[in-house]
Amino acid sequence: MLTPGKIDAEVLDELETALIEADVGVNSVEELVDKLRSGRSTHSGLDPAALLKSELISLLDDCQPERPERFTAKPWVILLAGVNGSGKTTTAGKLAHYFSLQGKRSVVAAADTFRAAAVEQIEEWARRGGARIIKQSSGADPAAVAFDAYQSARARGEDLLLVDTAGRLQARRNLMDELAKIGRVLKQLDPSAPHEALLVMDATTGQNGLSQASGFTAAVGVTGLIVTKLDGTARGGVVVPIRRELGLPIEFIGMGEGRDDLHPFDAKTFVDALLD
């Protein structure tokens, strides 16, 4: 008869391995499993896997998949940021589409003015998402594009402004300054903007995800995460240490390259996948 204090060591080892392989990271895994081993879990039950799942669901569950404060400002501004290739541009299109199903009209700011064909790419995604696009010539100041887009969305009474930014690595000081400037410009237009700053993170990211989260938060006040490419074999477990250390919730997940492949975060589904 198992009790939380007497969990089979072999079972715990298996769970430890599963969590490590899901990118939860050595430190978090040790703390979670030690908690079970020592019977300090606040959940009761006999099955260690179920106990662990309960712990993780409590940790990651934000209890409000559809934020009630969203769209309480007009336009509601969502800034998308993240490292290169994480899925920001694709996600911008998906978000426009997602909110259009709720009757919201979107404007997209093509604020990646650096990368080859970034504007052409987001133009197509804005089209797919039924959103209007604001862009400027290549090499333009991204903050200026964000500024223009805000003014335009405000003038037309649109519900949502999605600001797509260029990929950047948090270790690159000048690029993080550029992102901070975009944030400041939006703040000047609306003191509560950006209302959401979402870090778009590839599910294959390892422990560098923690450095990403803190670096981007320092630059632009990240309010939540979007984990993309969960349709692969990566589980995105680095959100666990990010949640533990920075308190950031997961808002959405990306499950493919199509415009419908975006879902509001559900802790139970996510944690089940983490351990399977």
Binding site: T17, I20, E21, A22, D23, G25, V26, V83, N84, G85, S86, G87, F114, R115, A116, A117, E120, Q121, E123, E124, W125, L169, Q170, A171, R172, D202, A203, T204, T205, G206, Q207, N208, G209, S211, K229, D231, G232, T233, A234, G237, V238, E257
Partner: protein, 290 residues
């Protein structure tokens, strides 16, 4: 950094006496933890630590006056050897010789294709970039823009099928006296059967002497899974690890090297065409160990 950590670890183990066999085993376990923190996939970390370190952390360390330092040196050296012994150049066959770029979504294939074009151009070759990604929005615009900036020709063709595009590119290269094709393919999930089959078909049709797996340098545990899956479906002859201009430890280098056995040929260290470097195993070892 690492030396301090090991010295401290070893000091705790030793107490007053000499280091014991058991201490060495504990140290090996500590090394594995360090690898996991550096994002080395668990099976790769185990294989390397158990297979390589156990035998080398022997008597030398037990009798050393600075065992911590000694252990770090052995781990570093073994890791560097494992990551890539002899230098592995790009492989070419008869002109126009194809190089096929493959990998997961967003790993850096298109950017790396352009980097390779510049690299080869600077070495006196005449590359043709081939826009065989027919899926991603503005993928063709992207590679055309990069080609224009480098003054490297880009073949786009009017067909929707990558195999037809590659065939058209080869004919075009011959007619223009271009000696190598850099074929950019669409990003894909290794679990997407349709896309992996498409890739296998493309490779079979092109028969490239060089197929490069382009992998994101900040990949964590998934590195072994995805690299293994690509290896099972297509011939891989080399690896390019991208985005190493960040602060990721880069444990994926060990993971991918271990599971594919293929040489890491280049690393991406930025977004510009010049930001491509030949792989230095010694430097990578130091980076992984932190």
């Amino acid at each position: 950094q690492l030396t301090d950590r090991f010295e401290r670890f070893v000091r705790n183990l030793r107490g007053q006496g000499k280091l014991t066999e058991a201490n060495v085993r504990d140290t090996v376990r500590e090394a594995r933890r360090i690898f996991l923190e550096a994002d080395v996939s668990l099976p790769a970390a185990r294989a390397f630590v158990d297979g390589v370190l156990e035998k080398s952390l022997g008597r030398e360390v037990l009798t050393s006056v600075t065992p911590g330092q000694q252990m770090v040196k052995i781990i570093h050296d073994e890791l560097a050897v494992f990551l890539g012994g002899e230098f592995a150049p790009l492989q070419f066959g008869r002109s126009p010789s194809p190089i096929l770029m493959v990998g997961l979504n967003g790993s850096g294939k298109t950017t790396t294709a352009a980097k390779l074009a510049l690299h080869l151009k600077r070495r006196g070759r005449h590359p043709l970039l081939v826009a065989a990604d027919t899926r991603r929005p503005a993928a063709i615009d992207q590679i055309e823009t990069l080609g224009r900036e480098l003054e490297v020709p880009v073949f786009t063709g009017d067909r929707k099928d990558p195999v037809a595009i590659a065939a058209g590119a080869r004919d075009y290269a011959r007619s223009q006296g271009l000696d190598c094709l850099i074929i950019d393919s669409a990003g894909r999930m290794h679990v997407d059967e349709e896309l992996m089959a498409e890739l296998a078909t493309l490779q079979a049709a092109v028969a490239p002497p060089e197929t490069l797996l382009v992998a994101d340098g900040m990949t964590g545990q998934d590195a072994v899974r995805s690299a293994k899956a690509f290896l099972e479906r297509v011939e891989l002859t080399g690896i390019v690890l991208t985005k190493l201009d960040g602060d990721a430890r880069g444990g994926a280098a060990l993971s991918i090297r271990w599971v594919t056995g293929r040489p890491i040929k280049f690393v991406g260290v930025g977004e510009r065409p010049a930001d491509l470097e030949p792989f230095h195993p010694d430097r990578m070892a130091g980076r992984i160990l932190g």
